[in-house]
Structure formats: structure tokens, C-alpha cells
């Protein structure tokens, strides 16, 4: 059973995250723990001090907690094994990291809404939370029915770093997937790369050891924009989390050019 921690907040991104993880629970055996972290207001924004301020903060928290519970109730499905909402106050990243480590979670899920001209992915993957993740994380960006996954390997996403974590996460489940070996270039046409001898050998060995078999092996070379457009028909893309996102070699740019949920595994 996959034990998943889902970050929620009263916003559109959290509706997407909760809805998405409940859809996943139709396919995979999952236990879902929603968590809401209320980040403390800065001192100079509080209406007063002492017990007045505390009362004000508590009442805001109550309102938001009620909104969270309504959101969770609205997204719950008959398949979802949902625990009661956990509520914390404090630094969001620290609270989530502590929970992931102490709770022994297999998966972290949060929502995100794509922005025109800006990539959220670079900001998130550079954060302390993502650079210290003890388990894979899904950034749910749209409500896409779960069907076939694209596993991306290559120089920026080594198979040896990605596949053991992925196969452990979905152990026992029947997962449909394709393997994409991609070479990201700055300019030039999108074109297939004739598979050199050994291009998929390491990945095949790791997958065969656990009885997994890709439906297709694809090798492509292209710009992040073209590669991103090419992979739009999948329901999720799985890749490694860049250790140094600012030197990510176009991988994050590629992922920003797709609307797909992304599953990151820290190497």
C-alpha cells in the first residue's frame, strides 16, 4: 500500500491535488493523509498582540480548516482511504518535511497551476523541501485520467537513479509505461535518435529484475519546447529531480512545456 501525504490549501491547486490523488487511489492501493500548514503571519501584520492576536489567528485557522475539510469532502471518492486532516502552524516546508520523515510516507503530492511565461517547477525544485525529499513527489498540474506513464531517462535523468525508486513505489501494481531516452538540445528539429547499442540496456536490466516491461522504447532529440509538445498524450511523466535545478540541462524547461502531472524521484 502506498502511504501518501497530500498538501492542501484553500485554492485551485489543492482541488487538483486532492482530486488527482483520489483518482490514483482507484488504481493503486493507497492511504491518503491530507496536511494543511498555516504559515504564521508576520508580526507587523497582526491586529494586536498577546491573547487578542492569538484569538484572531485561531479564528482564521478555524475558518481555513473548515474550508479544507469541505474541499477534502468534495473530492473524496469511494475508493479513497482518507485520514483526517492534519493541521499545523509554522514553516510549511519544515512541517511537511518533518511529517514525511517521521510518518514513513512513500509519496508526497501537491498541486500546482501552470503559469504563462513563468515556470513554477524551477522555484519548487530548488526549495529546501524538494532538495531534501525522502520519497518521490507528484506535482499535480491538471486533472488527467491516469492511463499510461512516460518514464524519462537520459543524461539528466539517469536510469539507475530513477528506476529503483519508481519500481519500489509502484511495487505490485500493474503500470503501463513507455521509456523515453531524450537528448535535449538548444536548437534544431525534433528527430528520432537511432538507438545505439546499449542505450536502454541499463534501464532494461533494472526493469527486468522486477518484472517490468515498457510498452515502447523511444529515443528522441529536440529542444525542450518540441519534446514537451511531443509527450502531451501521456497521463504522467516520471523523472529524477535535478540535484542542481539551476543547471538542469533543459529538463525542467521540457516539463514546463507539458501540462502533465510530474513525478519526481530524488537520486
Amino acid at each position: 500500500m502506498i502511504k501518501a501525504l497530500v498538501s492542501v490549501y484553500p485554492d485551485l491547486a489543492s482541488v487538483i491535488a486532492m482530486n488527482y490523488v483520489c483518482r490514483l487511489s482507484r488504481i493503486f492501493d493507497m492511504e491518503i493523509q491530507p496536511i494543511f500548514v498555516k504559515e504564521l503571519e508576520e508580526a507587523n501584520k497582526a491586529p494586536a498582540v498577546g491573547w487578542v492576536r492569538q484569538t484572531w489567528e485561531n479564528s482564521l485557522l478555524d475558518v481555513e480548516q473548515e474550508a479544507m475539510n469541505k474541499l477534502i469532502e468534495a473530492e473524496k471518492t469511494e475508493y479513497a482511504r482518507l485520514a483526517s486532516l492534519q493541521v499545523y502552524s509554522g514553516n510549511r516546508q519544515e512541517a511537511i518535511l518533518d511529517n514525511l520523515l517521521q510518518g514513513g510516507y512513500d509519496l508526497f503530492v501537491e498541486g500546482s497551476v501552470s503559469r504563462f511565461e513563468k515556470s513554477e517547477l524551477l522555484r519548487r525544485t530548488r526549495s529546501r523541501l524538494y532538495q531534501n525529499l525522502p520519497c518521490p513527489a507528484i506535482i499535480a498540474r491538471n486533472l488527467i485520467d491516469f492511463d499510461k506513464v512516460l518514464i524519462v531517462i537520459g543524461e539528466m535523468s539517469p536510469a539507475a537513479a530513477l528506476l529503483p525508486r519508481l519500481t519500489r513505489l509502484f511495487a505490485g501494481a500493474s503500470l503501463r509505461f513507455d521509456l523515453l531516452h531524450c537528448t535535449i538540445i538548444e536548437a534544431g528539429p525534433l528527430e528520432p535518435v537511432h538507438p545505439q547499442h546499449g542505450l536502454f540496456d541499463e534501464a532494461d536490466d533494472l526493469l527486468a529484475a522486477v518484472g517490468w516491461q515498457p510498452e515502447n522504447r523511444i529515443a528522441l532529440q529536440g529542444t525542450p519546447k518540441d519534446l514537451g509538445s511531443r509527450i502531451g498524450e501521456y497521463s504522467m511523466v516520471a523523472t529524477t529531480l535535478p540535484a542542481h535545478p539551476e543547471r538542469h540541462g533543459g529538463l525542467l524547461e521540457l516539463l514546463s512545456n507539458t501540462p502533465l502531472p510530474v513525478l519526481f524521484c530524488r537520486p
Binding site: L12, F116, L143
Partner: protein
């Protein structure tokens, strides 16, 4: 659904009629085909008078009847909801004090009206829309002679109509419907109209929410969540995106290429401020794009 389609007598209306027929077939709509005069009526073209009602070759009459014939041809003879089943007698006042007993075809499941409103085309369309309330006005994206700007009457209808307006571009099948909103007053009929467009074109759907200083207003955030879930329940994949208000013009201009741009217009909507007549020209380029204004 009630559709009002404006047929400009100076143009080939076959593509707009085809799109209206396809939408009507999917929705079983009541349809009014409205013959309108072109903006600049040529000197040789005589004004339409009461006597012209019996004329076979007046351009307005010819255009309207061709349009009607083309619309009905889309449905064929069998099973058309617009086929009349009975012929009745009706007294019609042909001149003041003179009544004629005419044989009139009635009895169709859905209504197909063919009407003429000579005179200023923009006013004609808006008057007809108010006279017989409709859910959707359909006009052609046609540039003025010799220039890339939209004809005045098309702009007038887009800006002044009380109902949704669909401006159809010739021979452009959109790959994606890109629907923008910055307020929470989104009607159920407008959601269903988008639903119909997605089905009609087998297109993808993207919902773009406008932000102000990178923040999405709470009511818009909430409404977008409801919209996304509505389409998910209707088996339509709706992708979401946020667009900063200051980047709207750039985003909309890019989004309009090859796609159908849909704008949910509100009274205090940023989108209506964006919709200055000159901005409409810039947005839609040279007779290239389709546009759907949702009210």
C-alpha cells in the same frame, strides 16, 4: 438553444452556414437566418422595398434563400428536425389594408426562421437579437475590403450584444478552445456552449484565469475549480493556466492562432476593458481567427 446567424448578402456564407448547421445538429437548436446588407451598399444595388418581397433576384433575397437551402441540405430529407409536416393557411397583411391568404409550411420539430432586416447591418443584428431573444449570435470573421480590420458591424455586435457571440473564421478548424476568465459570474449555458465547441471540433480545452500581481482572486480561484470539475465529470479534459493581467494581450494574441479564443465577459471584467475596438483588430489579426464572447 436559439441561434441567430447573420448572413451578409455580399459574401459567400457557405462556411458560416456549415458551422451553424453542425452546431444546430448537435444541440437541436431553433435557428434564425438573418439576411443583412453589406456595410457599403453599392450605388448600383437598389434599396430593398416592399415590392422586393416578390423579387427572385434581389441580392438580399437570393443570399437568404441560398443560405436556407444550404442549411437544410446539411440535414437531408429524412429525420431533419426542420422539415415541415403541415401546410396551413395564414392571412398576411401585404400592404396597409390588404390581406392575402397565404399557404404557410409549419409543423417542424425545431424552428428555422429566415428573415431580412435591410439597413445598417450592426443595428439589424442587434435589433433582431432583442426582438427574438437568442442564446448565441453567429457572425463571420470577414475583413473590410482592402484592409485587415474587422468590418464595423462585426465589431459592434461583439462589443454591444447582450448575449454570447461566435465569430467564425473561414476554414479554420481550431485545435484548442482557450477560455479566459477573471470573474466568477459564469453561466451554466456558457459552460455548455464551450462543451459543444469542444465536441464539435474534437478540440482540447484550456481554462486560463487572469491574475493581478500574480494573485488569482479567491472567487475566480473557486469558480475555476468548479469549472474544471464540471468538465471532468463530462469527460472533457480541461487544462488550467494562470495569466498575469498585464500579459493578457500577448497571451490572447498567441492563443488566438489556430485556436478558438473564448472570453467570459463580465461587467467589471478586465476582459471588457481589453476589448476596445482597436484591440479587437489586433487580437484577431487578418481574418484568421475564431472568437467566442461568452455572456
Amino acid at each position: 438553444m436559439k441561434i441567430l446567424a447573420a448572413l451578409d448578402s455580399s459574401r459567400d456564407n457557405s462556411y458560416i452556414i456549415k458551422e451553424v448547421a453542425r452546431l444546430a445538429a448537435n444541440t437541436w437548436a431553433d435557428v434564425t437566418l438573418l439576411g443583412i446588407e453589406p456595410e457599403s451598399v453599392s450605388a448600383q444595388q437598389p434599396p430593398f422595398t416592399k415590392m422586393d418581397r416578390r423579387t427572385e433576384d434581389h441580392p438580399l433575397v437570393t443570399s437568404l434563400r441560398q443560405g436556407r437551402s444550404l442549411f437544410l441540405k446539411h440535414f437531408g430529407d429524412d429525420g431533419s428536425p426542420y422539415t415541415h409536416t403541415t401546410v396551413t393557411s395564414e392571412l398576411v397583411e401585404v400592404e396597409r389594408g390588404l390581406w392575402e391568404d397565404l399557404q404557410v409550411c409549419r409543423g417542424s420539430i425545431k424552428r428555422l426562421n429566415s428573415r431580412l432586416r435591410p439597413g445598417n447591418p450592426g443595428r439589424a443584428i442587434l435589433d433582431e437579437a432583442r426582438h427574438s431573444p437568442c442564446d448565441l449570435i453567429v457572425v463571420a470573421n470577414s475583413s473590410a475590403a482592402g484592409g485587415p480590420e474587422l468590418t464595423k458591424y462585426v465589431k459592434k455586435v461583439i462589443l454591444d450584444a447582450d448575449t454570447s457571440v461566435w465569430m467564425v473564421a473561414e476554414s479554420k478548424t481550431p485545435h484548442r478552445i482557450v477560455a479566459c476568465l477573471d470573474h466568477d459570474n459564469v453561466s451554466q449555458p456558457s459552460l455548455e456552449l464551450i462543451n459543444q465547441m469542444v465536441t464539435l471540433y474534437s478540440a482540447d480545452l484550456e481554462i486560463a484565469g487572469l491574475t493581478s500581481k500574480d494573485v488569482l482572486a479567491g472567487d475566480v480561484d473557486h469558480r475555476m475549480a468548479e469549472i474544471v470539475k464540471y468538465y471532468a465529470e463530462n469527460q472533457i479534459k480541461a487544462l488550467v493556466r494562470l495569466v498575469e493581467g498585464s500579459r493578457l494581450e500577448t497571451f490572447a494574441t498567441q492563443a488566438a492562432h489556430g485556436n478558438l479564443l473564448a472570453l467570459w465577459m463580465g461587467k467589471k471584467s478586465l476582459l471588457s476593458r481589453f476589448f476596445h475596438p482597436r484591440a479587437v483588430d489586433k487580437l484577431l489579426g487578418v481574418a484568421e481567427s475564431s472568437l467566442l464572447i461568452l455572456r
